[in-house]
């Protein structure tokens, strides 16, 4: 059955991949795999992120790849936990081989408290991965200059953080995101730090093309309900953006006309 949501969210593309949902959802930190699958479905997403880690003996039976691909999700592998260009390059190569996708969410982290990106290494790794034929989605900070450099290098999108990964602090620098969107010619996907539905709506109202989130859903009290709320928030924010908001004013501007008001002997002005 076609719902209003499906009719109203217009298609967008990452490189040559066409998507209708503007949410990309992470698969970590859910109370259970069952809740994860229900939340992904509730969000309406078509793409889920995964990490690449060492196989442990005796864990052959659990297969996230099967669970997700059977449900028809695109997979977006990440280079989470990579601190060097070399780590990221090898992780990306392993991901492409394991999952059969050239998509890579490039994370190159400077320190493990803030998880902020190391932009020097990020630019170097992005250049090399683009050269090697990957579809690079770099997790970056909210600096429009760095985003422009990443786009110029050939990244398929740029993914600025709203706030530190897992912080749930929401969009800390909306002005920079607007500057970024006004300059780069690839999709701007807000990635990291989103905390709740209103953060998602704001991201879209700023003109961003999509939002990637994990903790906001997985760590909510009710992840499935939050995923549904965020699905609606994405739609609301995107529609508000396309509608073109009213201008902001420093002072009031009355909505009812002043002309034709009654007078009394109290001397109404």
């Amino acid at each position: 059955m076609r719902t209003e949501t499906e009719i109203e969210m217009e298609e967008w593309t990452i490189a040559d991949l066409r998507l209708r949902s503007r949410l990309i959802v992470g698969t970590a930190r859910y109370p259970s795999l069952g809740v994860m699958l229900d939340a992904l479905r509730s969000s309406g997403t078509e793409m889920a992120t995964v990490a690449l880690r060492r196989v442990r003996p005796g864990t052959g039976s659990e297969n996230l790849y099967d669970l997700l691909t059977q449900q028809g999700y695109y997979l977006l592998p990440n280079t989470a936990g990579c601190y060097t260009v070399k780590d990221a390059m090898l992780t990306a190569a392993l991901a492409r081989e394991a999952l059969g996708t050239s998509l890579i969410k490039l994370e190159l982290i400077a320190d493990d408290e803030t998880l902020l990106p190391d932009v020097e290494q990020l630019l170097e790794a992005a250049r090399l991965l683009v050269r090697d034929g990957f579809t690079v989605l770099p997790y970056t900070n909210d600096d429009p200059i760095i985003a422009q450099k990443l786009a110029d290098l050939g990244c398929a999108a740029v993914m600025p953080l709203a706030a530190p990964i897992g912080s749930g602090l929401g969009i800390r620098n909306p002005h920079n995101l607007q500057l970024m969107k006004s300059r780069v010619r690839v999709p701007v996907i807000v990635d990291a730090g989103v905390g709740t539905a209103s953060d998602v709506a704001i991201a879209f109202e700023l003109g961003c093309d999509a939002v990637l989130l994990n903790s906001a859903i997985a760590r909510a009290q009710d992840p499935v309900r939050m995923a549904r709320a965020i699905r609606h928030a994405a739609l609301a924010g995107r529609q508000a953006f396309l509608a073109g908001r009213m201008p902001r004013r420093f002072l009031a501007d009355p909505t009812s006309p002043m002309a034709g008001r009654i007078e009394t002997d109290a001397g109404g002005r």
């Binding site: 930190r29 859910y30 992120t49 995964v50 099967d66 990440n78 081989e97």
Partner: protein, 89 residues
């Protein structure tokens, strides 16, 4: 192939092979290396076969494609990484 190196003093812990010529590192852990073993045999000990989906392997930081698994002979002190997709953001 790997260069021959003199054994490092104290490099092997209790219960591990004492001579460096007889081990490979698999996901960071030393395992005995049977003479002439190929990568596919090593992967079998992790429950991985050519039919196993969604895994990838690197030897000495070089990606090893599935087509190479049976033919690639391991050398002493080779470092093997075997990975799969797990939950992540």
């Amino acid at each position: 192939m790997a260069e021959a190196r003199p054994p490092e003093a104290g490099a092997a812990g209790p219960g591990e092979p004492r001579s460096p010529e007889t081990w490979v590192a698999v996901n960071g852990e030393r395992r005995p290396l049977p003479a002439g073993a190929c990568l596919l045999e090593l992967l079998d000990s992790l429950g991985i076969t050519l039919e196993t989906q969604a895994v990838a392997v690197a030897v000495n930081e070089r990606l090893m494609r599935r087509a190479e698994w049976a033919a690639h002979r391991l050398a002493p002190e080779d470092r093997v990484e075997v990975v799969r997709a797990i939950q992540g953001g």
